[in-house]
């Protein structure tokens, strides 16, 4: 008798064509073409299909099914990550950036955090920026719907490992309240493989929710297909063109899609890249990049506690959120954490011998400085952000608070993300973080949250898209990903992307209905 399998291992994916098996020139058509299948694209596709549109999803990556996921980081990074995880945001302190390139997009590789943005952020959108219907009250129904789609729930206590208990212990010793994190999971069992694809199927990514739902309802999906640009008829978008990619990434054919509605959901780096390649040169396209830079600290404890056993990020510290600082923790596989520790050869081995004694915590900063996405000479988008003084100060404060928490939890040493200050050995040395010269050395930063590069605004001088996510000055072209987020959020953006897409999709459908009525009346 075969072993029982989780339901996500038995999902059907009808109407999928692997572009890697096609060549030549392929003309396609649909009512709506959705570029990207992450938190925005998959939700947009399902919503538009629900409204009766003939929907075609285009995905650059492959359909990697849950039952094929393994725990080897190298294998999964190559299969699920864009550029094998080597993307970088350039600037004075370069930021390592990771995003998904597979069906389900970055939802397949994120930590599953499902936070609503702070109310002050939503109220600023509505009152400060004049984006009607984006305030906390107006968005409440969309967030509730997003939480239903994402299946947001807190971790069960039986998934907590010693890493969680130490994190809680540190916070309690300092009197910092903790926030129990809602995550997009259906009965997580605490494997802690979220960033490499969840083999248990517990993480309710778009790969196992909206993509198969849209497909079952009749939508189609073309994988291994990269969109180059939007096709125009005057100022009206009438489809997209792009290349079909062999499994090794080599272009092998071309495709053209004709569609009344073009939905770009390729992420906050590649959506502005497509727009720029499509001859849209408005200054706001690519501007407004926010990155939520993360800096990690590694606490080394006397006792062994096997940090890889048990879930990660079951709790966050939101106590400093109004100051733009969020603190979390994660268990990182040996091969990945080693690169973040100092030294080569024996020096690195000495630290890694203590792997089972390490708690990795990180601070996420709500960045004020705006970066930009530009096109390189190869027509690929690259990101640039030089963090301002305020953000650098906030990072130092976040690192100091994280180190304080690790010492309070019992760490005997804390490894830091500064090239000129590798470690401190007692809480008294935390002052060295505050005293560190800001103009010396570098800070090791990474992020998985970028947003705002085609942000919604009241008019074209403030952003690239209007209050429905439609590109100013065009018709038939809308954005459904983190690009459209008007400002930095300060918390993980997944739920906001879903909620904004649900909100905006309703408006696209209404507008389409109105256009059709007008067309019929004229006819």
């Amino acid at each position: 008798m075969s072993e029982p399998q989780p339901p996500e291992h038995r999902l059907a994916y009808p109407n999928v064509v692997d572009g890697g098996t096609l060549d030549g020139r392929r003309p396609l058509s649909a009512d709506a073409v959705v570029v990207g299948t992450g938190a925005g694209g998959a939700v947009a596709a399902a919503r538009l299909r629900d409204a009766g549109l003939d929907v075609l999803m285009i995905e650059e990556g492959a359909l990697e099914r849950t039952e094929t996921f393994v725990t080897d980081p190298a294998t999964m990074i190559q299969r699920l990550y864009r550029d094998a995880g080597t993307s970088m945001i350039l600037g004075r302190h370069p930021i390592i950036f990771a995003e998904g390139r597979c069906v389900g997009g970055s939802t397949v590789i994120n930590g599953g955090m499902t936070w609503r943005p702070p109310e002050r952020v939503l109220d600023h959108w509505e009152r400060g920026l004049g984006l009607d219907g984006t305030g906390a009250r107006a968005m409440d129904g969309y967030f509730a719907e997003a939480e239903r789609i994402l299946h947001a729930e807190p971790n069960h206590e039986d998934t907590f490992g010693q890493n969680t208990h130490l994190f809680l212990q540190g916070a309690a010793a300092l009197g910092w309240p903790v926030a129990r994190a809602p995550r997009n999971m259906r009965r997580c069992v605490g494997l802690n493989n979220c960033a490499l694809g969840c083999p248990t199927g517990a993480k309710q990514t778009m790969l196992v929710t909206e993509v198969p739902r849209a497909l079952a309802a009749g939508a189609s999906l073309l994988t291994h297909a990269r969109v180059d640009r939007v096709r125009w008829q005057g100022s009206r978008a009438v489809g997209v063109t792009g290349r079909l990619l062999a499994p090794d990434g080599r272009p092998r054919g071309r495709f053209e899609v004709r569609a009344d509605l073009v939905v770009l959901a390729a992420g906050a780096r590649h959506t502005p890249g497509i727009l720029k390649r499509s001859r849209l040169f408005a200054r706001q396209i690519g501007a407004g990049l926010h990155t939520h830079p993360n800096a990690k600290c590694v606490g080394i404890f006397d006792q062994r506690f096997d940090p890889w056993v048990g879930t990660h990020q079951a709790f966050h510290i939101h106590h400093f959120l109004d100051d733009g600082i969020l603190i979390g923790y994660a268990a990182v596989p040996p091969g990945l954490i080693a690169a973040a520790l100092p030294g080569l050869g024996p020096a690195n081995a000495e630290k890694m011998a203590l792997y089972n004694h390490m708690l990795t915590a990180a601070t996420l900063v709500d960045d004020e400085t705006e970066g930009r996405v530009r096109l390189g000479p190869d027509l690929q988008p690259f990101m640039w952000q030089t963090l301002g003084k305020g953000d650098i100060e906030r990072l130092h404060r976040g690192v100091a608070l994280t180190a304080e928490l690790l010492f309070a939890a019992g760490a005997r040493e804390v490894l830091l993300p500064f090239s000129d200050l590798h470690a401190i050995r007692n809480p008294g040395e935390i002052r060295r973080i505050h005293e560190r010269p800001r103009d010396r050395g570098t800070i090791e930063l990474m992020t998985v949250h970028i947003m705002g590069t085609a942000r919604m605004a009241k008019n074209a001088s403030g952003g690239a898209t209007d209050a429905t996510g439609a590109i100013f000055g065009t018709t038939g072209l809308v954005i459904a990903d983190a690009s459209a987020i008007p400002t930095s959020l300060g918390v993980n953006p997944q739920e906001t992307i879903v909620a904004l897409t649900l909100r905006n999709a309703d408006r696209w459908i209404e507008a389409r209905g109105r256009r059709r009525e007008t067309h019929h009346a004229q006819a």
Binding site: P6, V189, A202, F281, G345, A349, D378, L379
Partner: protein, 167 residues
Amino acid sequence: MPVSLTKRPGVASQAAVTYLCGMPSAAPLAPRVERVLAAAVAAIRPRGHGFDHPIDDAVMEKVRTFFPYLPPPLRRAFPLGLRLLEFSPMVVLRRATRFTSLAPDDARRVLERLWDVGGPFGALVLGLRTLVFLAFYQHPDVLRTMEVDWAGRAAELTRRRAALLGS
């Protein structure tokens, strides 16, 4: 074309440029470059503290699997950087010798100096150590030594979840 948004109509021809990015070179590294890579792996790989596993060949093989997935600029820069690394001892150690002729300890000193200097060579060392550590510490023999069994736990928890959900 939506003219109202076009600030630089002359750049319209940009769109006609063939979009050549994303073409990975499937070609293997040249033997000379392979030798430099092997010397770098030997210098970077962890040693001592229970990490003396004879797995350099497996690490090399794993590192090679990454090349087709790197973005095109890196795919071109990486072999070039390794070629230049071969001659780096002349600058760093002021010795008329090649990187591949150095003992691992000396080679490590060269890499550490380059890493400290930063710039393109610092980035090369950073990239190399990331790949080597990823390949080394995730090797099954090393994971066994570290008593880390993520894969075993995945199999066990997948079964457990199926049972919990009554699948």
